[in-house]
Amino acid sequence: MANSMRDIKRRIRSFEKTKQITKAMEMVAASYLRRAQERAQAARPYADKLREVILHIADGTSDITHPMLEKREVNRTGYLVITSDRGLAGGYNSNLLRMLEKTLEERHASKEEYVIFVIGRKGVEYLTRRNYPVIDQMVGLSDRPVFADIKPIARKAVNYYAEEKFDELYLVYNKFINPIIQRPTAQRLLPLEPEKMDASSTQDHRMIEFEPSEKEVLAQILPRYAETLIFSAFLDAKASEFAAKMTAMGNATENANELIEKLRLQFNRARQAAITQEIAEVVGGANAI
């Protein structure tokens, strides 16, 4: 009996320690989440401004054409998947990857029909192990990413579209809804849909001069805009990651509490049983004499 009491005690202590860690991780995730949300917020004006300029151009002239605005026949699809480098974030990565696999299965007959760009170690490991056509990957990104970190992979994805290596590009990531809910989404990035971008398109139709020409400005601005959207998605995914981590660690802490409570009860019962037995033995012994 004394043996099992010591066992229980040891287990309680170990749970206490785990709890301390999960609690700390929860709080760290919470503070990173706040910062990630701020960053996602701070990135918005840039994307909005770019969109505004594109709309100005789209409004002013009806005959603008650019490959990034035009649907073409889809022979091949690109997917840019954003996962995290680290685990301990609940279903953050697994939900997303499951959704991706389902989408791929539904949409495509063979692996020839798509290529995948992956950000994040978890996604890289999962997808390469299962022999998905991963053509580019990026791991070890900072928790406080800057645009320059994302630019290489974003530029590559956008260039491949421009070079017609694939005919549409989807962003697959966990959209941040609120700190409790993150939704895995697959969102089409290219071709861009200017009609979908509207909302503010009625602003002003004054004549604007474009240097060197409308076409040139458009040709420069559209890839930048697409890259910016990828960056925004990444910031969003980062916020989701920390939110998921916070929830997961919060749950872990709660579970640890529950387990500790149960073990305490067990321990007390065992203690009482031991005392009772001892008394019984003493009484038994006294009676015998």
């Binding site: 990135a43 401004k49 320059a148 004054r206 474009f210 240097e211 060197p212 400005v217 910016t228 960056f231």
Partner: protein, 130 residues
Amino acid sequence: MRLEIVTPERTVYEKEEVQMIITHAAKGDIGILPNHAPLISPLDPTIVRVKLNDQLEEKIFVSGGFLEVRPDQVTILAEAAELPSEIDVERAKAAKERAEKRLKNKEKIDAVRAELALKRAMNRLKVTEI
């Protein structure tokens, strides 16, 4: 006239009352006074000079992007923008040397990229000089 310099990460610079903005646009140097005609132009890596009043002038490094001019508001959308105090001079110097080396032994490199890198480094250095 209002000036805003915005990057994907944050708003770097924001001033309500600006007298004049001088920079280098697609067709050459440009000076923008209030009530300038609406204009949109891409920017190479360059320096933006902002005249706040007759004496005070500020300089900001911009690593390429777009310039949008409206009569009462100028917006610069840049991939990166730095005030002189934020520039890492040593890093810019190293980047300059690297780019020059690459341009010298011309094989197997993306000359356009190297040139842009050189432009960025040189403008970064220039903006810190004064």
